[in-house]
């Protein structure tokens, strides 16, 4: 009870094999069991030394040399060596592995060609392990955020002999060997995970928790109830039903912060009349984002007219969309539909969810009122929704995007023509060229300026309709220390601890909490 921390992982992970992991729940488990070259600072998410104690970057920005710590081991005692990293990364890049996030490592020299099958010799990929404690990585282009990529879960190391021996059951408790702060002692699907402190972890002396229990509760009401009943010590962001957020604000348990994710609608520009930029502009200016964020969502989110979130030091966002119904009507007239006359039925599609539905209803009313166009809502179950968006069989669809690392590129890269995550059919040579120039640019300020220009172009051509900027809303018990709001909603749990003397420092506690401690 005292040094045991219980929380909600949020959903059953699809796979917590770092090479195969893709979603937030997968990542939470991976980060407990494995550690990368760098690890995130719990407050700022900046890369701090992890398995590597220091690193150097060559002046041309293309070669990183990582020096691993002395005395790092796997949980079974075997020493961890640079070759472990090299093998793990090549495994991720190997097409036969089917890794979903191989994109993390694509900045590496020849990685993209190897991953797409164009190159079969893995030794041509720019990763070398000249000795047991040195890893040399050569990049295709200078990549300002590479150190963030290196702490992403895809880049976490795995044990070759374990993977080869057990195949796709190597992640089970009893088989899995990791190098993280915790080991996996129990797992049952849809029930829970139990992690025990790993004594072989290099920083074990500073790990105060003895055990962590992670449940996989998907239902938001249930998760919040379990927190209220004292079962969960931490109810992570996204686990509070949005209608309840205003009522949570008065409790000290409630924490909120900015989250680098954007909720938007994507427009299928291959479908008439949405191929006309004036139609798209009309749709954008006819939405009152403030009303949505402040009135409907009760200020639990920020209205947002840009396609990059806040919080990138040195990045100056171009001006975003504002509510201007008169101008919106002008745009529509320019497109040939004055007053909405002759405009075909707009099908607004979203996947089944209360939140998506309410926002869609509000926007439907706004477009109908401000533009005079007919709008029909289409609620679809997940599979059909995915199919429709990827095959460009829609008019306007709800989307969202979460940042992977702390750089605007993670939001801008997906709008390149032909990117698998684009799903709008938008292909703009000028935009792609700006991004290419930015990726070659070594000077950080000029690079940021180029990215901002790209975003300006994106907003000008608007194949997308930004709506709101996400925020994190979580509940943390007063006796839990070491959990902070972070921009990417990543929470390393390694240095979390239970403060038994919290009561003497307490102010106000959530009403419904039974005092079980």
């Amino acid at each position: 009870m005292d040094d045991v921390f219980t929380f909600n992982i949020d959903a059953e992970p699809e796979s917590y094999d770092p090479g195969l992991a893709s979603g937030q729940p997968d990542g939470r488990v991976c980060r407990l069991l494995f550690e990368g070259l760098t690890r995130e600072d719990p407050k700022t998410l900046e890369p701090m030394p992890g398995q590597a104690e220091r690193w150097t970057l060559s002046p041309d920005g293309l070669t990183y040399t990582f020096h691993l710590r002395h005395g790092i081991h796997w949980s079974d005692g075997r020493p961890l060596v640079a070759e472990d990293f090299r093998w793990s990364w090549l495994r991720v890049l190997k097409p036969a592995t089917g890794s979903r996030y191989a994109s993390t490592l694509l900045p590496i020299l020849n990685a993209a060609r190897y991953n797409s099958g164009g190159l079969t010799d893995s030794s041509a990929v720019g990763i070398r392990a000249p000795d047991d404690s040195t890893l040399v990585v050569r990049l295709e282009h200078p990549t300002a955020y590479f150190l963030y990529l290196v702490q992403f879960y895809t880049a976490l190391p795995v044990r070759r002999d374990v993977v080869e021996r057990w195949g796709n059951t190597w992640t089970r408790p009893g088989h899995l060997i990791g190098n993280g702060a915790f080991t996996l002692s129990y797992w049952r699907q849809n029930e829970k995970f139990v992690f025990e402190k790993n004594p072989a972890y290099w920083d074990a002396a500073n790990v105060k928790l003895r055990r962590i229990v992670g449940y996989t509760v998907e239902d938001l009401n249930t998760s919040t109830n379990l927190y209220k009943a004292g079962v969960f010590d931490w109810n992570p962001s996204g686990e509070i039903p949005s209608s309840y957020i205003p009522s949570m604000r008065r409790y000290a348990d409630y924490r909120h912060g900015s989250f680098q994710a954007i909720y938007f609608y994507s427009i299928n520009v291959t479908q008439k009349p949405y191929d006309d930029v004036w139609v798209r502009r009309a749709l954008n200016y006819a939405i009152d984002r403030d009303a949505i964020a402040n009135d409907l969502l009760k200020k639990s989110r920020d209205p947002w007219g840009n396609m990059t979130p806040a919080g990138y030091p040195g990045y100056e966002r171009p001006p975003g969309f504002r509510f201007d119904p008169a101008y919106a009507r002008e745009c529509l007239s320019k497109a040939g539909y004055p007053g909405g006359r002759g405009f075909p039925m707009l099908r607004l599609m979203f996947n089944t969810s209360e939140d998506h539905r309410r926002i869609a209803e509000v926007i439907q009313a706004m477009w109908t009122r401000n533009l005079g166009i007919p709008v029909e809502l289409q609620n679809q179950e997940w599979g059909s929704y995915m199919q429709a968006t990827t095959s460009l069989n829609y008019d306007v669809a709800r989307r969202s995007w979460i940042g992977d690392y702390l750089d605007p590129n993670t939001f801008l890269n997906i709008w390149r023509g032909g990117d698998g995550n684009n799903r709008t059919g938008w292909n703009d040579a000028r935009y792609d060229a700006l991004l290419d120039r930015a990726s070659d640019e070594l000077d950080p300020r000029r690079r940021m300026a180029l990215l901002a220009e790209a975003e300006a172009r994106l907003l000008d051509q608007c194949p997308v309709i930004p709506i709101y900027h996400y925020a994190t809303h979580e509940l943390v018990k007063p006796y839990v220390q070491g959990i902070y709001d972070t921009a990417l909603d990543i929470h390393p749990l390694t240095h979390v601890w239970i403060d038994r003397d919290w009561k003497s420092r307490a102010t106000q506690v959530a009403h419904d909490t039974r005092d079980m401690r």
Partner: protein
Amino acid sequence: MSSASLTAMTGERLEGRPQSLWADAWKRMRRNRPAVASALFLLWMSGTAALAPWLPGMPDPTLQHLALGATAPSTVHWFGTDELGRDLFARVVFGGRISLLIGFVGTLVSLLAGVSYGAVAGYRGGRIDDAMMRFVDILYSLPYIFLVILLLVFFSRSILMLFVALGLVQWLTMARIVRGQVLSLKQQTFVEAARALGIGDAAIIFRHLVPNTLGPVIVYTTLTVPAIILQEAFLSFLGLGVQPPAASWGTLVAEGARVMALFPWMVAFPGLALSLTLFCFNFLGDGLRDALDPHDRRDVH
């Protein structure tokens, strides 16, 4: 007199004077106060729902007041408002249009299909019964979600598809129940007697056996009504039923359930509408069965 022979006699009398059983039943129904009250209430609800768009003073169910948000019942908004500030009373009334329609028609279809199918299967027995019941099993086992998705893919959304989707499953258990009853009834002497008299199979099934199964059939039918209404809500989550901003009682109840602790009126009023409808159908059903039953308990003793 045994139920068998009385029914046989009643059946014969049907040939000669078709009015008497129904007129008799009608008289009995009128005496059953809860049934009459229920019928009137249902009529009133249906009427209001049907005429809703033209009723003076009826608020617009889709008019949003975002800044207002969810408010408790008041003189302005009799049932309160939902999170988009829409009048809940109007939404419940308009929601009734879909739900009552589905409740009546869907249940009727399921009743007719289930009863005929089950009675024939039970009466024929043997291999035919096996085959017919296995067909029911097959339909029952197929994953419903996929059937609905495919209906949407191949036929796209329409109210006809909604009824098809609803009808696919509801009649199955009814068929099973009726079959069970008929299996038991067909051994009775009145059936032999009827056959000896030369009455055809169809007549035996529908004029003699089915009326004796009416008790459980009516009960199951009335219980199906809320199930169908809620099933429509499930279908709307799959993209088939009503699409927002329209609502049905099922979708209103589902919405309200999520915010039950915050805005209880959002689930209470649609839920009440649903419950009241069910109660009415039940009293009506009971009344109907009592009225059609050749042996009213009071007569026997």
